[in-house]
């Protein structure tokens, strides 16, 4: 490699400024890994040409797994031989992204030995992303990982690594144990994760309350979002404290409640709980004074995805409320039926949300054995084009 190629005047400009620099990270890893020099070189060329230099990935992986590795090849392999192969390994993170310092060091050692020494902590789906290695290093890296208690995540038409918010580990609002559920589901579906069985990818994310700190409603085929029944818990003393400390409860809490179901009069906060839509706002503003009700569980929603191909979708309500104790079982039972249906009717590369739209929610519910309830829709239909069934009376 010519000396010129190792110079990165454009990228160097990204080492300036206060925010920590990914270029610096690549250079740091480069002190131990020759890969990083070529990565920088190719990236510098991309910056100069305004154009990527990666080829469409091929299928590579570890023995017996159909996913977890993203194949990647340089389109300039002569010029940057060390990144001729530059595959990533998706390593399934522990629920809630919790680690000990030792676990981190173990991961670092493995990746320093068998890969670029570069990671994403974490990928958008939630995996530990080991960024860049050669095909021949995949199997050895995998062996070390499993020996250390780690396993791969998903890719391709498989279930993907589930993820969850910090939940009950550190959050007072978690309406169910997100980490336990996420971990349980991950373990239960090892086969679906590692051996792509579906028409397309399937993602599960678990948030402990409607704040949805893992964005499950926006990017999980199955979104499990904690919520509660009954009355919001109140602590009158703490409400008074907030008021005394200058919070304008009328304006900042009541007037921002989407259903306006709260009134604050003469120091008393009254909530018309039946009209509350569990948005969390009042609780968010006064965490010391208010809390989710005591009857806790989750709403199960289905179908979120990015825009390709028919437009992005948010997940939509499938089961309005499942008590926390019954969540794992209910979800597993549901998933069995959902996947069966998807298997049979889903087209290649059709996400579950698109399939439901295509066949219609009513038919989907029929197939998975759920009754329609009004909570599933923002409003009943407004067009009169009703497929009355001829075998029923349509009442």
């Amino acid at each position: 490699m010519a000396d010129d190629d190792t110079k990165t005047p454009l990228l160097d400009q990204l080492e300036e400024g206060p925010w920590p620099s990914f270029v610096t990270e690549i250079k740091r890893a480069g002190t131990k890994s020759p890969v990083c020099g070529d990565l920088l070189g190719q990236l510098e060329q991309s910056y100069a040409e305004k154009k990527g230099h990666w080829k469409h990935g091929g299928i590579v992986g570890v023995l017996g797994y159909g996913g977890g590795v993203i194949g990647r090849y340089s389109d300039l392999p002569e010029k940057y031989p060390n990144v001729a192969h530059f595959h990533t390994m998706r390593v399934n993170q522990p629920a809630g992204w919790f680690y000990t310092s030792d676990a981190i060091r173990t991961l670092c050692d493995i990746w320093e030995e068998h890969g670029s020494g570069l990671t994403n902590m974490h990928g958008s789906t939630g995996d530990i992303v080991f960024l860049g290695t050669r095909t021949d290093q995949l199997e050895p890296a995998f062996k070390k990982l499993t020996a250390a208690g780690f396993d791969l995540g998903g890719s391709g038409s498989s279930m993907r690594t589930p993820s969850c918010c910090v939940g009950q580990a550190r959050c007072e609002w978690a309406c169910y144990d997100t980490m336990a559920l996420c971990d349980d589901l991950t373990r239960s579906y090892q086969d679906e994760l590692h051996r792509p069985p579906f028409p397309y990818k399937f993602k599960i994310k678990c948030s402990g309350c409607p704040n949805d700190c893992v964005a499950s409603i926006a990017r999980a085929d199955l979104s499990i979002i904690g919520t509660w029944k009954g009355e919001i818990q109140q602590d009158a003393g703490a409400i008074a404290e907030y008021a005394a400390s200058g919070l304008d409860i009328q304006k900042d809490v009541c007037d921002r409640c989407p259903t306006r179901c709260m009134t604050y009069e003469r120091g008393t906060l009254t909530i018309e709980n039946r009209e509350c839509v569990r948005c969390m706002h009042c609780i968010n503003v006064m965490p010391k004074a208010l809390g989710p009700g005591t009857e806790r569980g989750a709403t199960i929603l289905i179908g979120a995805k990015a825009p390709i191909v028919q437009g992005a979708l948010l997940s939509s309500v499938l089961v309005p409320f499942v008590p926390a104790e019954e969540l794992a079982e209910t979800i597993k039972e549901l998933l069995k039926r959902v996947w069966e249906f998807w298997d049979e009717y889903g087209k290649n590369r059709e996400r579950i949300g698109e399939l439901i739209q295509r066949v219609g929610l009513a038919n989907f519910l029929d197939a998975i054995g759920l009754d329609p309830v009004p909570e599933m829709v923002s409003a009943p239909r407004d067009n009169p084009f009703i497929f009355y069934q001829t075998d029923g009376d349509g009442h």
Binding site: S46, T100, A169, Q190
Partner: protein
Amino acid sequence: MATATAKRITDIGPPHYEKFLHPVVKKNYGTWRYHENIQPGVLCHVAESGDRIYTVRAGSPRLLSVQTLRQFADLADRYADGYLRFTSRHNVEFLLSDREQIAPLVGALAELGFPVGGTNNAISNIVHTQGWVHCHSAATDASGIVKAVMDVLYDRFTHENLPAKLRIALACCLNMCGAVHCSDIAILGVHRRAPKVNHETLPRTCEVPTLIASCPTGAIRPATVAEKASVEVVQEQCMFCGNCYTVCPSMPLNDPENDGLSIWVGGKVSNARSAPAFSKLAIPFIPNNPPRWPEVVDAVVNIVDVYARHARKFERMGEWIARIGWPRFFELTGIPFTRYHLDDFKHAGLSYARSTHIRL
């Protein structure tokens, strides 16, 4: 570590989280009562038992070397009883049982170049994707723009002075890895030229029927080129989604002069107050201008500043715009409204203004 001769282990799943939990977390699991903001980037959660756990959150470029990760591990050992975690927005968090360790940890992080912040009404880390670092599909880089933008928004990360949370995300192509489509501000890489068919390689790399089926607008038609079965693209019907390229390597869309960025605003994920919402188009196109994309940075900063000046307490970007109306958003930000802002995809008609609720 396993020896080379050990039995092949598979399907074990991730390590169980319990072994990675700080003892205070373990003890008070599920019994947290409330939390307080100590300072930007530092939270205190109080359990029913009265126990407290302190969280120190630091910004991260997400792309981390093992060297830096080991430094984090060292910091965890020194200040946080050996425990750390990462957040859903790729920040790193240290869990402390001793309040006294907060200041030293914050200092040590600063020394290493990692800012503490991102909590509450600060701008948190930018969720982003691979870009030219690793993906073949990218219309732009990811990490570079994020770095350039966060350099300028640095003070918004370390100070909690916005009306509400403000989430920025970036995706380098329309596949939108990450929740870009529901962000207060989304930066999205876009192609603007139809794929150039590589008739040489197409016949052996792609299945023509699958390829044709992949196009949502039906822009791809079968064609015979040099006596081989290939396809052609009806230019006017292509809206550059790149789906054909995903299923067929012989349909690259990259075009240095025409690839670039678009900016979207007003999306959200949380159910707090208003329902989750998609981001809406603000700026249809900004050319790629590496290494620091000044036009993109300016555009984002402008939107953030206008929002910060005009939104009321607790109003997310989209909620603020809902109050003042889109016409005023365009007026206040000085962004021109163009034909591209008018939807023309399949539910377009539902976005037309079907009332006289107009601010005049």
